[in-house]
């Protein structure tokens, strides 16, 4: 998925949604869907299931790089603000400390660095996850309401080159899906 490309498949169908009952069934089904060569698909779980990213063949999240960048930016800004204020904007000698009293700048430099890194982590995560997105074809499905409770799903999107409304459905059924549903876009 490219970062700035369209987010949802166009065409009459969004894709196929299959429901599984246990993390175990879902895990094995994911391995099979991955091995069948699908690329535009996802699994949905009420809680993070350990090892599922591997079973899906996902790469690691790029989020740490965003956080690193933001953290370094925060550290730099925090330090430079204090440096600039005390040596240029408002140079006052207080309790005999030098104008560039860098050890005294460390606590605030650290705090601003942490603040920026945390903002990077939260908003970077929102960006990578395309949140907020209050409309989504998956929400049209009634069974999908249980994704935040106790049901496990695989959705294969219609713009996947290997997608076919009937054979993909049969594949998911054969992997032990309790129900399979074709969703409109």
């Amino acid at each position: 998925m490219s970062l700035f490309g369209p987010q949802l498949p166009t065409g009459p169908h969004y894709g196929i949604l299959a429901e599984f009952t246990t993390p175990r069934d879902l895990y094995h089904a994911c391995e099979r869907v991955r091995d069948a060569g699908f690329t535009r698909w996802d699994a949905h779980t009420p809680f993070p299931v350990h090892g599922l990213e591997k079973a899906m063949g996902l790469r690691r999240s790029p989020l740490p790089w965003i956080v690193l960048g933001m953290g370094l930016l925060g550290l730099t800004l925090g330090f430079c603000l204090q440096w600039w204020v005390h040596s240029d904007a408002y140079p006052l000698v207080i309790s005999g400390k030098p104008l560039l009293a860098w050890p005294a700048y460390i606590p605030i430099t650290f705090e601003v660095g942490v603040l920026f890194a945390a903002l990077g982590a939260v908003f970077g995560m929102f960006g990578l996850n395309r949140l907020p997105m209050h409309h989504h074809p998956l929400f049209r499905s009634k069974v999908f309401e249980r994704v935040t409770d106790d049901a496990f799903f695989i959705s294969i999107e219609s713009w996947d080159p290997r997608f076919d409304p009937s054979t993909t459905g049969t594949l998911l059924k054969s992997l032990g899906a309790r129900s399979v549903e074709l969703l409109e876009s």
């Binding site: 942490v114 939260v122 989504h136 309401e145």
Partner: protein
Amino acid sequence: MAQTEADLLDNPVADRPTLILRSPDFHSITEAVAGVVEGPTPTAWWFFFLPSLALLGLLGVAVSWLFWEGIGIWGLNVPVGWAWDITNFVFWVGIAHAGTLISAILFLFRQTWRTSINRAAEAMTIFAVMCAMIFPGIHVGRIWVAYWMFPLPNQMDMWPNFRSPLLWDVFAVSVYGSVSLMFWYVGLIPDLATMRDRAKTKTRKLVYGIFALGWRGSVRQWSNYETAYLILAALATPLVLSVHSVVSMDFAVSILPGWHTTIFPPYFVAGAIFSGFAMVLTLMVICRTAFGLEHIMTLRHFDYMAKIILVTGTIVGFAYGMEFFTAWYSGNPYEVFAFLNRAGGPYAWAYWIMISCNVISPQIFWFKKARTSIPILFGLSIVINIGMWFERFVIIVTSLHRDFLPSAWGYFSPTFWDIACLLGSFGLFFTMFCLFVRFLPMVATAEVKTVLPQADPHWEPKPEREIKDGRALEPAPEGAS
């Protein structure tokens, strides 16, 4: 139930019991937690909420009167220029720390038991930081210039002094508040989505839906989400240690005997965790009994928390002793006097309340019977919070009230408005907490589900596992105490 559950904790024949009792499935966890928010308001809730709201009103009156009249309405005067205001501030910041310890530090140490209590503890953190932030704000007296604390460009071309610990404190506490809020909200998103998907009314669907941001629980989302959560935990860990260290530097960087000690940062952090865990205990004991969550917040959780209280309480006791040693070893007569005066001067009563509440009373937690007895845990959690409030009072007021010159000595007594501000801050805290348990899921259900055995994709039901869980179930579980 209390007895059987305690027995299970170290039964050498059986394996350790599961973290969550009664062998629930995923759905029953959702039911147990979301049901609290969706059901009708319990009458007992009003008995907590209305008095809290009344105290919050008292805070409003006290603060308004303070703004109108000035800080002279408090008992402050030379030589005691800081008293209950800063005591309350340090007390509340300290309470906050346990929430971050549970949510961040225990997460990094892979302590999965934290999942039952982390949501409520993080909420407690945020509300405690709110209470804490009031006091430095209002104690400046000229409230209309409180913005001078922040580096805002202004028409006077004036900037704050970044070399002062008081300004470090402004940054530390406000960054801590912001990061805690973000951490809490990120943790809430999956559960808000649960509330959205279970909502029966349009309003609920809309409100929970807006805040759930359209969460779909997809593995691609979870992958970024878990990375963000891990990073936030890794950021919050040094942050929480820095916050109370910086708070302690408000004192330690001064040259006042009794404050000017290098032991302050670690000693304050240990004390913060100590008092915070006590407050978590107070709240959790009430919540689990009131909302029937005994199988999620089990005696095992309380056992662990009591151990942390024992450790941190003993560290605090060591620090009290070490202060006396350092005062004697320094050979500085003012330093020696400050400490002898603390333990034997006019405020000796406060000092010995502190010692008995914080050092002596937690020693009962060496005994497992005490660590797993709900009445003892509840009683002691309140005793410890009283003790920790007195610790800050002792540090602040006893160091100030006898200056270098006996002609400048004084004695601080609180006025009605001092008491009103303290009680009022409790009103704010409990009002927020009551609203929290009423409108938000107080247990992180998505995280609790991950510690159930069947959440592991490689888990297979084994016959003997069922027998063991059956034993935990044997005596019909009913409300403890």
